[in-house]
């Protein structure tokens, strides 16, 4: 009998500090992964938590983890060569075929950038797969900016608009809430534009409303939900919203469905 709860050990290949709070762990992994899926990561005796996969290739996956609790504190003690327990991947992830040939806008707030990092990299490296790519990113302060080198890289291939809520001295970029920067985007032919919005619940709520106001079609907006997935396989009930299990049918939802998911 298959026991889906048993985690396996995976070796940490690289550790990279993104900010003072966020660290990306590159972990040895071979297997089918879709950007936007998540893993259940654990440390024996400490706990297990769902973490989104920020990127992957044929032999590894990246997990960008924020230090927010007991488990992540312990993960932060790990070194290259140590191993992590994981099971997964779980969830649907982003179906990149949906975006083929389209005018794509990816909007991410804070750690919401992690689950869309792989789709961004894919579109940036395969510009012919879509018509246009624009990226709108928001962080609390300049210190919270995730993947700065990658953002730099993406800027060479597409339009990247980056804003911080609270600027510090010397900050020369955009400031203010991400929702106030929708105008930066190319809003011509908005009827055919496709948007991916990922971030804190409040940001996703107001950003999707903002996009609709600008003429985006509901069916062209995709969001990714963050919930407390305890089992990842549709049993524990923590991520249930109405008749939907975020771990099974999500975390990526089309807005047509997402707008009716009320907690």
């Amino acid at each position: 009998m298959n026991n889906p709860y048993l985690p396996k050990l995976y070796k940490i290949l690289n550790i990279k500090a993104e900010t003072a709070m966020d660290v990306t762990y590159k972990v040895e992994y071979e297997g089918h992964v879709i950007g936007g899926q998540f893993m259940e990561i654990s440390i024996p005796g400490v706990g297990e938590a769902p973490i989104s996969i920020s990127d992957f290739d044929d032999t590894s996956m990246d997990l960008t983890i924020r230090k927010v609790g007991r488990l992540t504190d312990c993960i932060f003690d790990l070194k290259v060569g140590d191993s992590l327990f994981m099971r997964g991947p779980y969830g649907n992830g982003f179906d990149l075929n949906q975006f083929k040939g389209k005018d794509v806008v990816i909007i991410a707030g804070g750690t919401g950038l992690a689950p869309v990092k792989n789709p961004i990299r894919y579109f940036a490296n395969n510009p012919s797969s879509i018509k246009q790519l624009e990226i709108l990113l928001g962080f609390k302060t300049p210190k919270d900016i995730l993947f700065p080198q990658e953002i730099e890289e993406w800027s060479k291939q597409c339009h990247v608009y980056l804003t911080v809520d609270q600027p510090v001295e010397g900050w020369e970029g955009k400031t203010g809430l991400i929702t106030t920067h929708v105008n930066s985007l190319d809003l011509s032919d908005v009827d055919n534009k496709v948007a991916i919005v990922v971030g804190p619940p409040i940001m996703m709520k107001f950003m999707t409303l903002e996009l609709l106001k600008r003429g985006f079609q509901e069916e062209n907006i995709w969001v990714s939900f963050e919930r407390k997935m305890s089992c990842g396989i549709g049993k524990c009930g923590h991520c249930k919203i109405d008749e939907t299990y975020v771990c099974l049918e999500g975390p990526v939802f089309n807005y047509v469905k997402a707008k009716n998911l009320l907690d």
Partner: protein
């Protein structure tokens, strides 16, 4: 086959059954009730007829027999995973039709929700045989008839108490033992309750709209419900759990992962890393539970989750009645339809 047995003959039979099976039935636990000088009726291991309390409704559902409140999933010993063995002696469970129907709901959640089957649930579930306790009268808070959960054919044996004697029907040949031959052969078909004192009308699944979510009704529960989660604990169909890790020895790197029952009414159910939570008001949690029981589950499986056992009404320290909640919701939905 059906048999009429004296309690002595029945006990001899149970003794024989106990060789191959563990028997679980409702038991009267003297003085263990919620209030002083009251008894608790709950499930426990039994070996004789005298150990059982078959006349009353158990305060807790039989789910605790095969879905433990706290279950060790595995131990970590220096990064090695060790799965604890369980007692694989088959179990005979004495229960009412509503509970058998409730277990059908648990099966749906653990075995049919998503593509993976729940290993820990399945390994205990496979051990179960059901003895149907005939239930014709029901109890004050029951509304199983309204929930279409008053009848079942999913049992291996059935029992009726007639004064000092026991009527016993065997469906599963494994339970047909020599000891039964000492009784009188008598055909016996268990009957099912046809009408409860409490009746509910479930609002049509498609008639429940998002407008109902913001209705004043739920605000009442914000002020009444204290979020203790007793309703979830006693419910036969509540299946939610949380993962929990425990460190036994940091030095030797020994720990274990458990799962424990979780309650959608209790604080922390939706808490995510970083502190964000959903449904912080108790009324919202009442709405969430209600919708699951009589709306959401139906959309996934085609029948309602609630079986109308009424245990949540019996246990609530705030005297919140789930059946009344369903009826109130139905009235609101009906009103809404009239307005349109």
């Amino acid at each position: 086959m059906g048999y009429r047995l004296t309690s002595q003959q029945f006990d001899n039979y149970l003794t024989q059954l106990s060789i191959k099976y563990q028997l679980f039935a409702p038991q009267r636990k003297s003085g263990k009730g919620s209030f002083s000088d009251t008894d608790l009726i709950s499930y426990g291991p039994v070996t004789s007829y005298e150990d059982m309390e078959l006349q009353e409704k158990s305060a807790y559902s039989p789910k605790e027999v095969f879905y433990p409140i706290r279950e060790t999933l595995f131990q970590f010993i220096n990064n090695k995973i060790v799965e604890p063995e369980i007692d694989t002696k088959p179990i005979i469970l004495f229960l009412r039709p509503c509970d058998i129907n409730g277990i059908k709901r648990l099966d749906a959640m653990f075995l049919k929700n998503g593509s993976e089957q729940d290993y820990y649930y399945l390994r205990r579930r496979k051990l179960l045989k059901f003895v149907l306790i005939e239930c014709i009268e029901g109890f004050d808070s029951c509304f199983c008839v309204s929930m279409n959960a008053n009848k079942t054919e999913e049992y291996d044996a059935a029992i009726r108490i007639e004064g000092e004697e026991i009527l016993w029907k065997v469906k599963d040949q494994d339970l047909e033992l020599e000891e039964l031959k000492l009784g009188v052969t008598q055909d016996f078909e268990p009957q099912f309750i046809q009408e409860n004192k409490v009746k509910v009308t479930i609002p049509l699944v498609e008639a429940v709209t998002k407008e109902t979510f913001n209705h004043e009704l739920w605000k009442e529960y914000t002020s009444r419900c204290i979020g203790c989660g007793r309703c979830n604990a006693v419910c036969i169909s509540c299946s939610c759990f949380s993962m929990q890790d425990v460190q036994v020895s940091k030095e030797h790197n020994i720990g274990e992962r458990r799962r424990v029952w979780a309650s959608c009414h209790v604080d922390g159910f939706t808490n995510m890393a970083g502190g964000h939570q959903f449904r912080d008001k108790n009324g919202d949690r009442m709405r969430f539970k209600t919708m699951h029981k009589i709306n959401d589950f139906y959309k996934r499986f085609g029948y309602h989750m609630c079986v109308g056992c009424g245990r949540c009404d019996d246990i609530c320290p705030e005297y919140i009645s789930f059946s009344k909640c369903i009826n109130k919701l139905n009235e609101i939905v009906m009103e809404g339809q009239k307005d349109e």
